[in-house]
Point group: C3
Chain length 291, copies 3
């Protein structure tokens, strides 16, 4: 049983429910009709909930964003555990959302976190599965990274939603592999402008520069993703996988040979007093906006 399709619903910064659907090619063979991983989780507000629908072979992984969207190392860890559990059915791969979990953490904690982010991206961008991002919320920073790590992006045509690698706006810098993924998606110039200004794009603007592939009414995001899924599943797996690897290998190899330096660089940057001040201000701004 090989998992072939991932549907992913990126979380909204307003805390909107996010979903990640994992499609098993041979879903009907799945043993667990409703595999709710959060039941293993002591948290009363579980970060992740997974339901595998045997009739469609689609496992829906829901990501409930915590306040100020601070999806941290905890989330990454929980996410990975969940995915490993699903992988016991050989039906899944790792995905994630990261946003701003590096405020007020020790260098060790930051390094650990960043390694987890790298791991998530390496697995997602290099996944043999066809991966489709179904974006029904805003996707700043890590949410955007996760989206552009997929094979195809469908976004809700909702004027309140935005998407982008906005790190620069927060005084931090998207690392080279965020940049490479963005360049691969929207080209060098749009990536340059986007990263230098830390732009968040409205859905129509995101479509215009190619940051997403398709806009649909919000209530059709899931069904469109499922229709798109069928199209991708109709392509011979082996040829598609080799082709995908050919397209992405160089970008992935670049991080693989620079992981440690990238972690060191991230930690030394993020633990700077000035950066921490900048992040604190940003988090407070987000909190006050919600209040």
């Amino acid at each position: 049983m090989l998992c072939s399709i991932v549907l992913l619903y990126c979380c909204s910064s307003a805390g909107v429910l996010s979903q990640l659907s994992i499609h098993s090619r041979h879903g009907r063979e799945c043993v667990s009709p409703c595999f709710s991983l959060q039941q293993r989780n002591n948290s009363t507000s579980p970060k992740i909930k997974v339901d595998l629908d045997n009739s469609t072979g689609v496992a829906v992984l829901r990501m409930q964003s915590p306040p100020v969207n601070s999806l941290s190392l905890d989330f990454l860890t929980e996410f990975c555990i969940n995915l490993e559990k699903l992988e016991m059915d050989k039906s899944c791969r790792g995905l994630d959302i990261i946003t701003l979990p590096m405020y007020g953490k020790s260098p060790e904690r930051c390094g650990e976190f960043w390694k987890a982010v790298q791991e998530m991206w390496l697995k997602l961008y290099g996944s043999n599965m066809a991966t489709i991002a179904a974006i029904n919320g805003s996707s700043p920073a890590g949410g955007c990274l996760m989206s552009i790590g997929c094979d195809y992006r469908i976004m809700a045509d909702n004027p309140r939603y935005s998407i982008g690698l906005n790190e620069t706006q927060l005084g931090i810098v998207a690392p080279f592999w965020f940049k490479d993924t963005l360049v691969n998606t929207v080209g060098n110039r749009a990536a340059e402008l986007s990263l230098e200004l830390g732009l968040l794009y409205s859905a129509p603007d995101a479509l215009k520069i190619g940051l997403v592939d398709q806009l649909v009414p919000e209530d059709q995001v899931l069904s469109t993703a499922q229709d798109t899924m069928s199209k991708w599943l109709a392509v011979p797996d082996h040829a598609r996988q080799i082709t995908k690897s050919m397209m992405r290998k160089q970008t992935i190899d670049k991080l693989l040979s620079n992981r440690e330096a990238d972690i060191t660089n991230f930690v030394s940057f993020i633990t700077k007093d000035s950066i921490q001040r900048s992040l604190r201000m940003y988090l407070e701004m987000l909190k006050s906006r919600k209040a």
Copy 2:
């Protein structure tokens, strides 16, 4: 006498007549008013027919696609002989169309064929001549490769025609230099989507992603190509050639230093039982469609 422009009519999978026009800068000096190479050809259904019009200095090379468009090593060879003959007038360079000639062949035959395909692409993509693809038919796979190997692409605005590197759909994989040529033409993201799904684009969609440069009514493809030709001929040859080389050298060098590995890779892939089954099914589907 130096040949400066190539007009190329890609063959339709429906067997529509395809043409390759070779323009001699000093056409009026040409010795042979109508240089019909197929007269040297014993075949009663010649694959290639060349006519050199002295009044315009344009040699028209017509490619009549055989059933199921299986333009094989035979075609490549005949094509090269024809071009060598034309080169005796110092008026031409090599071009080709390849589609699906690697079904049911021995590994040696496949290797020989693939080397010829490489040769064709190296000559075309690196040609000092200005090369203009005038596409009046569908251009899947090798036909598309030939088109994107040219300097400019004019396509008939006919809803029945499509163009694309659709190898993935057949269960095979476009090699890295097909991919590089496509990336150079439409950018990384459009190439990725196109190759992962093996997409064939309608003429308007091809224009939209930049796979072709211009659409014109079918009966104006040739005249538009000739007008475009004049524009290209007005640019100083030397500067244009150095510029073209600067743009394409890196891509060409990459194949040059990997030819043997690329052939080995192609042969070992294409002779796999599973791939041969997939190709047989595709050929049968094409045959039944024509029947």
Copy 3:
């Protein structure tokens, strides 16, 4: 006092006044209310005039193009002296316009000139300042290079203005770093077409391929540039600068490790009899057009 924004008005080949505005982040601290560098200049027709407006913190650097727009080594030198003077206020960086100053010069002079062009581009493309090109005239060749060396391009929507790296039309070849800058701006395919044909784009066409970012009525070029400037200044400097460097470093390093070879190549090419003939014809054509 750190200079953060550069406004640049590219010169028109028709001799239209061109302006370069240099914005000081802490302009109000500036000592010189009107810093007219041309007063140091014996020329009765100064090439460059700088006025620093204390109320806005914007220093306006005006470039008056001489006949046939032959902005030469003299101009580059004068420009650099002016900028050094402004830098005494720590408020500025170097910029330039080069067009066709290499006709009829000795190899030594050509080499010296080319080195100055390299220097200008290295400083501009790698500048820590946000740089905005406000284009209120035609920007062929070096003018275009200067524009695409900036971070953002605003062009007057005037049908008489064009922009492009048109070197090929003159029988010369844009060097690899012109090409790299253009590829980074408009992508590989548009750059290829543009460079092979030496195309000059009308304002709308330039917008379409991404050679400029925005068109505005001619009388709004400056105000739009100033509005845009505010947007860029709102982004944390440090993050923007690191991001810019990440985007451009590879391209800059490529020239840095090939400067001598690039100069040698340029000089040997430009001093060829055939090229000099071609340039003379071009200059004469420009002169007769003005007469």
